[in-house]
Amino acid sequence: MSWSEPGRRLRTLAIAIVALGLVVGFAACGGGGGGGIEGSGSTEAETVKLEGKPSGSVTISNWPLYIDEGTVPAFEKATGVKVKYVEDINSNEEFFNKVQPLLRNGESGGRSMMVLADYMVTKMHKLGYLQEFDKSALPNVEENLAENLKHPPFDPNRDYTAPWQSGMTGVIVNKQTAPDVRSICDLFDPKYKGKVDILNEVREAVPLVMKCEGVDPEKATEADWMKAIDKLKEESESGQIRKFTGNDYARDLTSGDAVAVMGWSGDAVQLQEDNPNLEWRMPTEGCMLWSEDMVIPVGAPNPTAAEAFMNYVYDPEVQANIAEYVNYVTPVEGVKPILAKRSPELAENQLIFPSASFTKKCSPTPQLEGEEEVNVIKAFDAVLNG
């Protein structure tokens, strides 16, 4: 292309258009208050407004492989509600950061219900992103919620959360290649150099390392957190730790690339179908206990149907199907006798129905806050990003 006289004018015009765009951009920004992501939202939680019988359609966000195939269609048939069930949550933090810009403006991105960890729903409630339930539509939850889950410190009356599933974080080992890994400390045995995966969830990985160091995560100071993170840094730099993973440790375990990992109780049961040598073990130091909750975000369309769904999954018969599929700890009473009839093995499984003595050394997921949360996550991410 040759730039002749009209060509030069053309170039001037192009520059002018770009400049105009800039001006428009500046103006739009001035009016929009810098994209509207400053500050924090209101902390007054509103209550869900129910409208008659559940109908219409509802969108539910959940984690992958967290429900059996029959429950959603059965709910649709029973209520006439059309469900869009989306498995778009892969990490509490990432999901939160993705939806926060919407929630700040009182929108939920079309979602009527979502499932997130205890610590995350606590944070969201504080920011005013969640609605409180109208319990009149949740009789099954009132009746069947497990006694030990009824009054958690972050939501003493279960006003805005209903547990979806609970579970334990410990170690998953390959019985053949890493038979003697029985504790968190064993993961750092040089025998298994480059064959160990550690979870990329700061609230689970770091407290488990504290347990190895003899520190009680419930009483840990910021210095204890940093010390445990330093230990991870050291093991990461020496090549002991192969990778920091989420659910994707499953790939490393089934391919044999990893022989022992930090992992979640329900996953192991599903992994055994691929490789019967894989097994979840309760670390000798104890495990981390966690729970994930159903919540209704602000701006949720059709909360009536969302509550109907929550109530539906708290029917022990329905929950038995979910429990049988996901193999996590079910929060619903009355599931055990139903499963005992179907398969006595499942009813005896400590991973699905753990006894008090089985979990006695376990700790709840810690709630990090304010400055400490920022510092700990920063230090942990620095190790992840090596």
């Binding site: 810098g34 933090e93 920022v374 990003n385 090596g386």
Partner: protein, 286 residues
């Protein structure tokens, strides 16, 4: 009328591209620039206050990952060039009726998504895979695992960006007037001489375009490091992602993105100076 129309036409032709650039590049860039000068993190008093220290802090805190990104991308680009040049040469001059088939083979992997192709490499380089065992057997790979190392990340980058090297190289090689090569032979140039003094210089625009198309996206890539890397192999893209999605530290993430952009720009300018802008523009610029 026709004169006016002829003068207006270019403006119309420029229109869509300009609007696209302004809407999806200039405007977002402005917001990102403003964000990079904020203080605080999302949800905890994020506000604008000309906080230039984001830049210096981002650079000093993540210099390792910057160096690593440029190193990985650089090695991947050189490897791509070494693999792509002979291939493009064969397709352009020797393939005959197989030319279209070969070109299709180069593009075919694009029918699968980038993510799936990268994840496939996890299986290829897995500890007990035949490929890994073969590499160990012939002594090409040191003991220990290949997956979850820097080599695996570079392999992934090379593989994923290879077509971006092959296609421009092919385009510039294919345009070469064969009579020029014949002429050099008539003038008693050996095969090597005619390649070095005729073919190679004439394909320079393809080399420059190919290396840029490979290097620039490779520096900012994070998918390969995420899946194929282990501890100590994360690139700057992974850092930006974790700042944005896990630490909610939007200002530092934005500042890092700008620093990355600036560094790439400097590298490219130096490269073009070195390679000559003539090569970039091709014959028309002469």
């Amino acid at each position: 009328m026709t004169a006016i129309r002829r003068r207006i036409a270019p403006y119309f032709l420029l229109g869509p591209g300009t609007v696209w650039l302004v809407l999806f590049f200039v405007v977002p860039l402005y917001y990102m620039g403003k964000l990079s000068l904020n203080s605080g993190v999302l949800g905890e008093n994020l506000h604008f206050d000309w906080n230039w220290s984001n830049y210096s802090e981002a650079l000093s805190a993540y210099d390792t990952q910057f160096v690593r990104s440029f190193l990985y991308a650089g090695v991947a680009t050189v490897l791509s060039l070494l693999i792509a040049y002979p291939l493009a040469y064969v397709i352009a001059f020797k393939a005959g009726r197989w030319r279209n088939v070969l070109l299709f083979a180069v593009v075919a992997p694009f029918f699968t998504t980038y993510l799936i192709r990268t994840i496939a490499w996890e299986t290829i380089l897995s500890d007990e895979s035949p490929v890994t065992e073969f590499l160990h057997a012939i002594g090409l790979a040191p003991s220990g695992h290949i997956l979850a190392t820097g080599s695996a990340v570079i392999a992934g980058l090379t593989y994923n960006f290879l077509p971006f090297m092959i296609l421009p190289l092919y385009a510039s090689l294919e345009r070469i007037d064969v009579r020029l090569i014949e002429a050099s032979k008539d003038l008693y140039a050996s095969a090597t001489q005619s390649f070095l003094r005729v073919t190679l210089p004439l394909s320079a625009p393809g080399i420059v375009a190919g290396t840029l198309l490979t290097f620039i996206p490779a520096v900012g890539d994070y998918v390969n490091a995420q899946f194929l890397g282990g501890t100590g192999n994360r690139m700057i893209g992974n850092v930006i992602q974790s700042l944005y999605l896990s630490q909610s530290d939007y200002p530092s993430a934005a500042a890092l993105s700008f620093v990355l952009m600036a560094l790439i720009m400097v590298a490219v300018v130096i490269y073009i100076r070195f390679a000559g802008s003539e090569a970039l523009m091709g014959e028309e610029a002469r």
